[in-house]
Symmetry: D2
Subunit: 250 residues, 4 copies
């Protein structure tokens, strides 16, 4: 099996290094990641400037672009063989609920899916680097399973693993995305020259973290797996919309 | 009615100026957009650096950030009153099919929705600036209708309008997202110093542009309205996934 | 006379607009400036990415690059006729003493000189925008004089004007660069996520602001003109250096 | 002896790694460099965003800023002890003649000088990485000499070494800066979307490369050492300027 590995924290981050080693036990792994921390990059593309690559001593390829750029560039230009699977992570910090919309790690997986490949995003819900090993272990097990149980062609898996030892992990839950409360997450300040600046700050409190959500799984010591679909069309609303549009006279 | 207007082409672009004037006929409009072209920004956030604002002579507020930053900053920090609606556009160029995943204009609308507000993204499917007026007209009519027919709380509308005169427009179609073929859209080159570089290039050919899609509507002279839902959870796959995960032993 | 006008605060700044109007009384002026605030850009070049231009409604040309890029691009690619003079400013804030090393405005003038043209940098030593008119007036008078008294081929003029009404200006002093004390100008802080960050802060106190310096002129109500030479070779030290190098055995 | 080492090619470049090892034979070396290639950064400062550091596995500290930022941050915030010397390099490619104005490597040395320290910039005039060893050797020998022959307080040394084996090096010449012809170094092109772009291209041909210049030394197989002074005041022109200004009536 050939795996393309990427992330959004950048190619020098601990999480991608641990995952590269774990995946190398079961597959040929090629790692192509951003040369800088791209947290919050979402599915952004570098359209106005060209991309460049640099191969590091450990064989990782660093790209001066976003996670989406990395996966697109790798598959369309850099790799000799199309990979069998795209894996993104291990993200430093959780990607739960609304986070998935902004996450560059989830975006790297989505880009793999767009290019026709099965794809998985993996995040450590916590900061204790020792527990990247737990997330790597879960990922390897899921991938083994994936071989015989392929995903639908328009979906990816979003895995979050609590930052605890493997021995403490209670299991894996299939979940839906919860929601954070988004308001009040930005603060204003002044820079040292007295000019007003604004920062994103702490994450909002949870708004929907009830049973069945990814928040709930993590809070209770389970790894969370959420299937995400890539097609954003809201089919259910089409009829209604059609009715009220009928009244518009251009 | 109060409208927050943003875009991804930047606050100096023609499309946002035309739309601001049209919307001002029916609402109080506050315009907050990026200070530079952010095409392809998707839902990216500026997490590592602070945001700054500058109010221009025409009252528009320019932000050194992404479309998502603009909407989030406006609603959480800049506006005295929460707006009734978020509008993003008029985008210079179409946002059809897979484009919505990468579009900063669609992302601006999505961010409005995340913060609890109805939201619309508008794009001109073509480059002839004279026809921004057509897109502006369609947008105004849809907004008038929206007052009495509110959208579901987890959806936005993605409007694309062909670049033709209003008199030639055949009507409005409710559509689902089509798909572009993604492969082969990147090319390699060398910079003037002989170093290898890579560029995204022309958009892929259409892979699913059949009847019912947004591509189809535009190709046939109709404005396209696609309802998009924001929750990416793939509810349908949860049972299946649960079954095969049962076999994993950690 | 043809003048190429640029700055480092960006093409939307008040200072360049006031100066453009004043210079238009005595010359054909073409304005090419950065599309964003580039304070502190020094002589930096954009080598890894391409430059792009956008012509604004007022005829100014905005470039996605540094002040040096603007002057180089204008002279080598954009202008039909080589200008007779390069003017940079009016800078928002003083460029005194060591500031000239970091100033993008001074760098724009230096680039003009490198390309073989007489060049002047102008800064307002203060923030009261009403007094840009004073700096513009001084600049126009100096330029008139410059026609009959050309500068040496390796020098530029660095003009600073106090932020006072023209009627209060005591005159113009020819000065040498003073010096600021550089230490203790940086501070550390944490971002909202608890990560350590560092900012440049307030300017250092003056270390050499005695009679004859540019600091002294401004402090006493005079405009300051400092001739700057572009060749950094330290001719005086060459003999000494040659002697002690003689002892090196490779 | 304590040495602060920096560069402009970035902390992952080969040149800074070779020099770090050579300098470690004669001093305690702390390496603080940009996290990305900053060629052409000149003395630019990061004023609008905060700086961040990351300590790499090899002990090098990577900064998300310019070479000037690195030296300023290191001396004012990061180091426990003020270093005795600032060294910048080994630059990948020559810094000869006008290049010094744009070079981030020379700027790193200049910043050391501004903060009161002796400073040296070192460049390899060629691309063959095997010969970084020659440049490192010359640098070490010059530093040994510098201990007993301090530089004037307002000067730095700019060293260029030809990309040849040490055994082929003919010696060291003290030089003045030559000059390149600057015109015709930019080219225009179109990006894959058909929009016009401009690139800096090949370096200009030599305009002044005669005996005594740094160009001449390199071309003849010698290392070149040019003393550069930091004060740009053109003292010689002050009298003349004073005379013609006398005629200005404000």
């Amino acid at each position: 099996m050939r795996i393309l590995l990427s992330n959004d924290d950048g190619v020098y981050a601990k999480g991608i290094q641990v995952l590269q080693q774990a995946l190398s036990q079961i597959a040929d792994v090629i790692t192509v990641g951003p040369d800088r921390n791209c947290s919050g990059a979402s599915n952004s593309l570098t359209l106005l400037n060209p991309l460049r690559t640099q191969t590091l001593d450990n064989g990782f390829i660093a790209v001066n672009g976003t996670p989406t750029d990395c996966v697109h560039l790798a598959i369309s230009q850099l790799l000799d063989h199309t990979p069998d699977l795209v894996v993104a992570g291990i993200n430093h910090g959780a990607n739960l609920g609304d986070d998935v919309l902004y996450s560059g790690t989830v975006a790297a997986a989505t880009e793999g899916r767009h290019l026709g490949l099965p794809a998985i995003a993996v995040s450590l819900a916590g900061r204790e680097e020792a527990h990247f090993a737990t997330a790597a272990h879960v990922t390897v097990e899921v991938i083994k399973k994936l071989k015989s149980h392929p995903l639908p062609a328009d979906q990816i898996l979003n895995i979050n693993v609590p930052a605890i030892a493997l021995s403490e992990l209670k299991g894996i839950m299939v979940t839906r995305l919860g929601r954070r409360h988004k308001a009040e997450t930005m603060s204003s300040d002044t820079d040292p020259w007295g000019r007003k600046i604004y920062w994103y700050g702490s994450l909002g409190p949870e708004l929907d973290a009830g049973e069945g959500t990814d928040f709930y799984a993590i809070a209770n010591g389970y790894a969370s797996i959420t299937p995400l679909h890539v097609d954003m069309s809201a089919y259910k609303s089409m009829d209604t919309l059609e009715q009220w549009l009928a009244g518009i006279r251009l």
